[in-house]
């Protein structure tokens, strides 16, 4: 497993891309996928520390389009679940 971690802040609840609703933004923390698959995602812009915004989706919410590093990339739920993110405090819903 390749665990590329950005600067993790104080203990936050583990959240993944799946938990973002349309319009929500979050910072990618690490990709919980085997090395080669993680590399492919990183080449498309999914790098730890990068901001990801959830966009539109296919009917039913899967796959969903994510805005990352100037591109729009669709991921299936099974993949999005492996991308752990941090939600900035200001955007946290209480």
């Amino acid at each position: 497993m390749l665990q590329l971690s950005g600067n993790t802040g104080p203990a936050e609840q583990p959240v993944t891309l799946v938990d973002l609703r349309r319009g929500d933004a979050a910072i990618l923390d690490h990709i919980d996928l085997p090395g080669e698959d993680a590399r492919r995602l990183m080449e498309l812009g999914f790098l730890p520390g990068t901001q990801i915004t959830a966009g539109l989706s296919a009917p039913g919410g899967d796959p969903r389009v994510f805005q990352v590093d100037g591109s729009e990339i669709a991921l299936r739920r099974e993949t999005a679940r492996r991308l752990k993110v941090r939600v900035p405090q200001s955007q946290r819903q209480v």
């Binding site: 590329l4 996928l33 085997p34 080669e36 698959d37 590399r39 492919r40 995602l41 990183m42 080449e43 498309l44 812009g45 790098l47 730890p48 966009g55 539109l56 989706s57 296919a58 009917p59 039913g60 899967d62 796959p63 389009v65 590093d69 100037g70 591109s71 729009e72 990339i73 669709a74 991921l75 299936r76 099974e78 993949t79 492996r82």
Partner: protein, 630 residues
Amino acid sequence: MSDCNGCSAAAPAVEFPGRKGVAPTTRVAVIGPPNSGKTTLFNRITGLRQKVANFPGVTVEQHTGLAVLPDGREAWIIDLPGVYSLAPRSEDEQIAHDVLTGNRGDTPKPQAVLLVLDSTNLARHLMLAAPILALGIPTLVILNMADDLRKRGGHVDLKELSLQLGAPVALISARQGEGLDRVYEFLAGAMPKPTPKELPVLQDVPKCRQWAGHVGNQAQYRPPVPPKWTRRLDAIFLHPAAGVLIFGLVVIAVFQTIFVYVTPLMDGVKSLFAVSGNWVASALPESLFRSLLIDGVWKGVGSVIVFLPQVLMLFLFIGILEDSGYLARAALIADRTMAKVGLQGKSFIPLLSAYACAVPAIMSTRTIENKRDRIATILIAPFMTCSARFPVYTLIILAFVPNRPVIGAFLGTQTVAMVGLYALGFIVAVITARVLKSSVLKSGRTPFLLEMPSYRWPTLQSLGLRLLDRSVVFLRRAGTVILLVTVILWIAAHVPFVNGKPPAIENSLAGTIGRTIEPAIKPLGFNWKIGIGLITSFAARETIIATLGAIYGMDDPDAQSQDLQKAIHRDLTPGGAVALLIFFAFAMQCVSTVAVVRRETAGWKWPLVQFTYMSALAYLGAFVAFHLMA
């Protein structure tokens, strides 16, 4: 097979003589990430002087072309597959890597590289510049989509970027033909080796991205605002209700076009062949040669070329969908449904196309990057009811199914039978896909990634070149494989001679083969006449109609459809008729499909597996049907 796109390992596959008969000495590779407009640039500078083949031994298509420089010299351009990096993981990346490092014996190492990047997404696309510049090959860094960058308020300092990268930089719009003089200038010039200020560790993706960001900053890169129209259109095309509705309308439009609107064109081609055949026949004296030419070559090749309008229309549709950016949205919408049988969204359009003809459908699976998904799609595509099955189904249904109303006047038994056959093919395809994807072609856990490009107007040039390209690939098959098979079949029906004349068909070689295989097909309810029809139908399904027409002594089976129906009715039991329908629904009776699968999978393994599987299924299905009906 005489189709030698990928089998000539000895001869360089990309030998491309110049217009003056002298091979140009400059060889230049075009490379860039997917959606960078790389192929648009390639089309711009090579135009009609293009050639398409497969890289020997692999399924990656190789486009080469000639660029004529302003000073009259020529350069030989090779369009490499779209890649995000040069790390050789996928087949595409392996090819790009091997060509650029001079590790492919069949393709000489290029002397220069045109690196095409999307200027509206420069920071990320610059990541590919690192491994390319590290090769040390003279490189022109091309920032494409200059018009978009300008319109949406982006900016980049070309001088500074060039300084950072140590390579010349050109800001162009391949679609508009803007800035191409810089490209020609580079091709005609001295082409210096790149001297980048610094390069990151290539294996480290975050470092590469940091480097790209730094270079972009130094060059004062200001990304453009997000494309307004793409956001607006996506709000419609990906709307939970409207999006699905539009998707449905697109599917119906494709169907309607390839089945209804193209029919007059196909009839036109058909009568063109009939008229010209008759004309040639009347100009030649009655002889065996005339028979070979007219009944063998003309009719055989004609029966394939009839599908050309359908193939062209299909590729026009796919071209518009792909170039406009809608194809990615359609794949997104279809993904969930396709995932249920283990496939993915990108398999949808090829499978839809297979209802017209499996050959262009299999050619269009190139949009599926995942190799296992692509092979699974290729393997199930011939189960979709292609238009060659339609005349066969029609003949047998008309001969055996009495037309009685099922629901009022709208739905009759004959329609139900036809729809049932379409459904049967689909269901078997779905089951086969599930079996394949849960066993030999299991995709593992490779994530499904789909980049959503911005919407763009497709250009006429790109669509035109695409149609030309596809029709050449399609017609090459009709001119080689089909020609060969029809000639062989004609000979089999005309030997051995009796008293210096060709024998009656039942005494011919084909007739003898028909009788020889009779014991094998008797359990399916077929006699030797149907046997001959089955043998000839392996060339192309609808050939069985002409063959049966010949056996029953009819000159023009199309005109004598009524008589042919009666003749078949006498020779087949109802059980045999159902068995024959099932056989046609499952069997891979199409040389063109076998040939195209060999080409697209770069070997004989998959076409053989597919042919064996489908034949076995056809035999078993027909056997069961005949015995259930008996």
